[in-house]
Subunit: 226 residues, 2 copies
Amino acid sequence: MSAPSFPRSERNKVRRLHERGSYDRDAVYRILDAGLIAHVGYIIDGQPYVTPTCHWREGDRLFWHGSAASRMLRAVKQGVPACVTVTLLDGLVMARSGFHHSINYRSVMAFGQAHAVEDGKAKRAALEAFVERVAPGRWATLRPVTAKEMKATTVVAMTIDEASAKVRVGPPKDDAEDYDAVAVWAGVVPLRTVGGPPVDDGRLLPGVALPAWAIDYDIEVYRHRS
Amino acid sequence: MSAPSFPRSERNKVRRLHERGSYDRDAVYRILDAGLIAHVGYIIDGQPYVTPTCHWREGDRLFWHGSAASRMLRAVKQGVPACVTVTLLDGLVMARSGFHHSINYRSVMAFGQAHAVEDGKAKRAALEAFVERVAPGRWATLRPVTAKEMKATTVVAMTIDEASAKVRVGPPKDDAEDYDAVAVWAGVVPLRTVGGPPVDDGRLLPGVALPAWAIDYDIEVYRHRS
């Protein structure tokens, strides 16, 4: 049984506006699960790289995948330190002064060391979990993965050693004297990533219907349940 | 006058699916300008960090800002190597096999070394450019920035030494034999970040109207013009 919070260290401590920060596992997991894209930070020869990739989660482990030839995957699967950041943009916060403008967001920085998932069964199960998170019920309807495809795919898992969440919600907070002095619109412009009408590829077999998950797509509806 | 393409090196070379890659400055700039959020990668004591932040661009320079107390800004403004990645998620690409599922996206990785913008005039101009990029016409309507606020704010600029863009568009590409064999929906679920109805903060002065830019907000409409 994991502790309900991640340990705090110099690495994951929320320094700026620490009232926005959280080390609570559930808070961290909710944000990770609500994002489709993670940005993975790693180092090669002293140079930082940040690669976007789709991620998924099981318990305290983050997964991502790609080609066996990927530079990013070859680098991170060797167990070097990685930082995985997931950011959800929720709105523009428009204040009466430039200084108090902000963004409503949810973000997580997670730290750990990734390793390749080598076991064939575990790798297949991980890929299934990925497809199912994005499109529930889809895995069983697909042409099965071949051995060649499995070989060409690297899956990595990173146990989250430390993580922190940072969240801003709500209206702008202006200086007291500005409310009555500045005649400008102030408030929040909500932002959200939404699915548009699905476009089939024109080669569907007769009788194939649009699946329910694809309509008004919203990854936050399909968040992982574990 | 800059060359129309960024130089290619081991650092920015697009390795995987290189037909999706581009070193063209205009292609890179269009993607940078279409994103509100960048993920900045940097190293402290051998540990990579990835911090999300709002960015903006003037010519071949990327800017971002934050509190003078920010760990990220204190780290990067010393001219250490940084990697700034901007990713736009354009759609889910659903194929007939798990292997050929993909994402439509536009992304840029930009490399350089950031430094603090110390000159007061340049710093103020940079902040104005930032506000104007997000909300055209807004800067002049705000309460002016104070000296204290300027002091509390760090602005950094990074000349882009190298960059590459990577883009995927279009439908899934399935194996030839799967088209007639797999009865599953295949195509693209488009994704887009859109603005919802603006919510004012309930303290507007009489006669203050909702600005045009806030309606059906779309950062891609307000992309920077330089």
